[in-house]
Amino acid sequence: MAAQAINTASTAAFDRAADWDALAVRARAVRRTKAVVLYAFLIAVSLPIILPYFWLVTIAFSARAGVAETAVLWRSMAVIMPVVVAFWLTVALAQSRRQSWIGIAAVAAIGVFAFALLVGPDLHLGNFIFLWEPDFASVVRSRIGEVKGAVQFPNVWHAFANSILIAGAQTAIVVTVASLAAYYLSRFQFPGRSSMLRSLLVLHAFPVLTLIVPMFLMLYWIGLLDTLFGVILVLVAFELPFAIFIMKGFFDAVPWDIEMSALTDGASRRQAFVSVVLPQVRNGILAIAVFTFIRGWEEYIFVFTFLIRNSNWTMSLYMYWVRDDVMGVDYGVVSAVGVFYLVPSLILYMAAQRYLMQMSIGGVKG
């Protein structure tokens, strides 16, 4: 009897085990299909994003006599496409974190080697002539025998400094004002508080172009037209609402307790704000600082409209005029200026990426 019972029990167990195997096989197949589809999608999406930047950089470093070297471009593409595909394949196939790191490192090493071999000999710095030759436009034009009519370019470092000044000053003002205003909005009750919060969002929704004519007139009347300070003020005005809104979300998340605690520990309201509350919203401040800086760095519409003298040019205006003047003559120089313009934002983004990821926007509380 007992033996028989055990026998049936084990048969039943065996049956069920067989079922489970089948289920596991099916689940694995489904998972694999999903992964293949996902990675195919990622490859398809990442190539068009990566390629333009890649070409920009390659042209900047390889174009000779003003024309993009098509052969070099194709060769470089022959390197980058397989690298991107190989990257996603490694990530997809790796069984562990370690394996995927090793795989990525291997892919990168092979990619760099192939690049150095196939493209390396054609690279040069000649297109960055604008960094040391202010009147590069004439030089570039003279290469094709066209000497007259070149735009008078200021020194590129001057434009660079102007851009840094605009972006930096704008960031400093926005961060200071937004922190104080957002703290007040978050902590104090006053008449009109909720309508103010609502109008903050509406203000941000205005397309800036619609306001450009009135802005121009205002700047003209107060005498700030064609000054960096005027542009900084305009930028600050447009960036503030959103920055305040974001900072309010961060302040809302700081518990009242620690502030009260600081007061009972003998701090004044200001001391409590500086030494206890501000450190809690550090990430928020970094986030709006980076965004505001990059916004100021890439600013084009306002500087184009409100700045006239070439000593007031920013990098974006410089880029614009290079494109206007030399494009069609020398693509290499245009690309090189583009790379030069791109690098600071890229560095800033990479340095601050960790903080930007944490940015979340709190809801409007009445």
Partner: protein
Amino acid sequence: MAKIEFRNVVKRFGAVEVIPDLNLVIEDGEFVALLGPSGCGKSTSLFMLAGIYVPSGGELLFDGHVVNEVETRDRNVGVVFQSYALYPHMSVRDNILFPLRFKKTPRDEALARVTAAADLVRVAELLDRRPSELSGGQQQRVALARALVKEPQLLLLDEPLSNLDASLRLSMRTEIKSLHAQLGVTTVLVTHDQIEATTMADRIICMRAGRIEQVGTPDDLYLRPSSLFVAGFIGSPPINLVAGEAEDGMVTVNGARFPVEGASGSLTVGLRPEHLRIGDTGFAGRIAQIEPMGREILYVVETGMGAVRVLEQGSSAGHSTGEQVKIGFLSENSLVFETERQKLIAGAHVREPV
């Protein structure tokens, strides 16, 4: 050290009157507990002492001086918040050091005092950690050290034990009490836990909806609760309260009748479960439920006046469910309240029915 006095203190938030009229004296060096249900204004009273809230009316006095307008930072009050409110971006050392920053204490002396405070609450080995790396009990101790390091004249504790587990709560209770004995600082403890209040405080202030119901020692509140509210709030398991009508020296409660002395009219009889015993005399009932509580057994007995809780010593039940029993009590342990006004009738008692 300070003597604290509330004189007709009122606190309103907008149109809502949270504290209508508070009168209270706390003696120098005393340990009092503000006890009451959630939302009765305990924290509000505490924050007025700390200076975070300004009273809407009346006077608040420290050592006979009105302090209504005195800024929080000038009051020299140590507060432990319910959430501990440690500064997350500072190490434990910097947390405890923080109050001394504003007193311009010389660096060496300040560090020595931090060490002393940390030793006092036994967190000396945690000084370099961040608050997020501490357990709840350790955070609580750090908060205590931070409140004590500036040698406050008044220590305020807002539900300091509510976030701790049962065993930790027990040991922190003892520790806070011995700290008070050691330092002698006037201490106000806010709690909604009656055991916390009765075990730690010299005096309990029982509050309800912004008003003081009763002030007294734990014994006063337990043995002579001035109102039905206090009787129901103090004691665990809660007191048995049954309403009835008294006539000709007998009170009728549902079906049961007791002899009553010193009272008449609509009455509420209060009998604490631990004052009842199952025996040969008293009123009859049937055991409906048995709840062993470790060293005690709680019986729920169905009687003529409804379900009655009886607490008996011992770790094993001497009776079984469904058993018919008689419940007796000593007359002097019974409490009689006026149902209408909810007040205790002093000297009135009921006796076991014969």
